[in-house]
């Protein structure tokens, strides 16, 4: 697989130093913004307003982190983000496991139409539904609840998860299921006892994608939850800025706190995330 690369770009960049340069470019491009925020979060306000600016913190401090937690209810923001993401992920997985199973295993008459519909939903601009969703949530009494976010977030991830899971289910031999059904398992029994456990990596991959989608969402969270106690992290972060002041070190600390949980998830499950992103869905 990589040998193909050698012969495409390889003749130009086959030397070790050039490969190192390529790695450096990739890493700096990908990680520098997060690294810079990390460095900023350790600087004092005094150091930050020096010119020329310092790159590495001279007197690293954790004061900004303490302030990030005391100036605003950062723990509450984290908790809200986490719960909304977790609950919408569970709901998404449940609904998309069922749908994907139907698409992978049954002879549906409208399968192509349903597939097209799923793809159309995956490109659907939720921002256009700001007004009607707002009114629907208000009518259902769901404004300022987690549910007001969980339902749209589930729709946000449903297409990607369904596509990822469909391709996973298709890769599981039907014989296993048939054997289970001959042994007296019902179809639902076979789904949850045989297919889902075998597709566990796929279910897990879909789950990570759904979680990250929810964790990142900003516009709906900004519009539907005016109650400070229900703010998610991306919305809460805005509150650090005063009317005139913009406390960058404290904001940086809060950003780092918000990046770390997802970064850990990504570091541990990187291969799965890549396979999920490239196999099933394209949204980002």
């Amino acid at each position: 697989m990589t040998a193909a690369a050698v012969s495409t770009t390889g003749t130009l960049l086959s030397g070790k130093p050039l490969r190192a340069l390529a790695a450096l470019i990739l890493i700096v491009n990908g990680l520098f913004p997060a690294l810079w925020i990390l460095l900023t979060s350790f600087k004092t306000e005094a150091e930050l307003t020096q010119k020329p600016i310092t790159w590495l913190p001279h007197a690293p401090t954790l004061q900004n982190y303490l302030q990030a937690f005391s100036d605003q209810p950062l723990l509450t923001f984290l908790f809200n983000s986490f719960m909304v993401a977790l609950l919408s992920t569970i709901l998404t997985l449940f609904i998309s496991v069922l749908a994907a199973y139907a698409l992978a295993r049954l002879n549906l008459r409208f399968r192509d139409l349903i597939m097209s519909l799923i793809i159309a939903v995956s490109t659907f601009p939720l921002v256009t539904l700001l007004v009607p969703l707002f009114e629907t949530m208000r009518a259902l009494g769901l404004l300022n609840t987690w549910t007001a976010l969980i339902l749209p977030y589930t729709v946000l991830s449903l297409p990607v998860c369904t596509l990822v899971l469909t391709s996973f289910f298709e890769s599981i031999p039907r014989d296993l299921e048939n054997a289970a059904m001959v042994d007296g398992c019902t179809r639902f029994g076979a789904l949850f006892r045989i297919v889902v456990p075998l597709a566990a990596p796929g279910v897990f991959t879909a789950g990570i994608l759904a979680f990250v989608n929810s964790w990142d969402e900003f516009l709906l969270a900004l519009s539907f939850n005016s109650n400070p106690a229900l703010r998610t992290l991306p919305v809460g972060i805005q509150l650090y800025q005063g009317e005139f002041a913009f406390p960058w070190p404290v904001i940086s600390a809060a950003l780092v706190v918000g990046i770390v949980p997802v970064a850990i998830l990504i570091v541990i499950f990187q291969e799965r995330v890549v396979s999920g992103l490239t196999a099933g869905g394209l949204k980002g």
């Binding site: 040998a3 193909a4 495409t8 770009t9 700001l130 707002f134 369904t162 972060i237 394209l282």
Partner: protein, 315 residues
Amino acid sequence: MTTSSTVAPATSGAKAVRARLSRLLDPDETTLGVLLLAPAAILLAVVIGYPVLRLIYTSFLDLSLTSGMPARFAGLANFRAMIDDPVFWQAAGNTILITLITVPGALVVGLALALLANLPFRMRWPVRLSLLIPWALPLSFAGLIFAWFFHSEYGIVNDVLRRIGLSGVIWFNSSLLAFAAICIAITWKASSFMAMIILAGLQTIPRSLYEAADVDGAGPVRKFFEITLPLLRPTIAVALIFRTITALQTFDIPYMMTGGGPGTSTATLAMYIHQNTVSFLDLGYGSALAVVMFIISMAVTALYLRMIRGGEGIA
């Protein structure tokens, strides 16, 4: 298919109950399909189907919560107001410009990153993470981080400019520079995902093609343009369409970086919809704006569906 036939004979009543039970637990193909797809269908009906109808209806209403007046049918008044609204044209123009700049921008940068990432590194994980972390970073965070990069006094961009002997500029005071900063941030955020998709495409190109080209004495440039690029076309096309639709919805990054300013010079259509709905509470006008965006997105999606139906599968 069903297991009821293997059940030992019992009294006819018990048999009927058991048959009905087993039909419920073990339905035929069509019933099962309906049951399995029902939760998804209900969710989509509540969150998309009904709201879309409601959106179209509201766009014909004069419905402003601040006026205190009840909703009134207004025909095409909202759409006519849009034509005379300079902010609408500015926001729509910015949205289209952002799309025209950042979609090809992310493609070029993403393609370059993918070609670099496809080199035979001994360790794959640092490269993989350097593409994944920007994808996982929330857009709103990326907006804040780039606002800090472009800070006029203490931002690293101006610092670098000063170090190489140029003078720093006040990025967010000029509409042109603020717009450029926004486009840079969006291109950075989008290119990593683009690179991941293209990288996956690169890895499906059979090695034998390059070997054959080697035999023919083709150089790396010719191989790139005659093998790599043509074979990547379906992958790139799919990635471009998704990127286009996402770019049309741009909100988070300009909202965090400039708030649409200076004035409304960097506002996007999504920001203007949000402002009319949430700040001005002019639900009628906000809906009419949303209908315009909806039509544009659906047109792009239709194009996309036609393309993949035309035989080019999803990556």
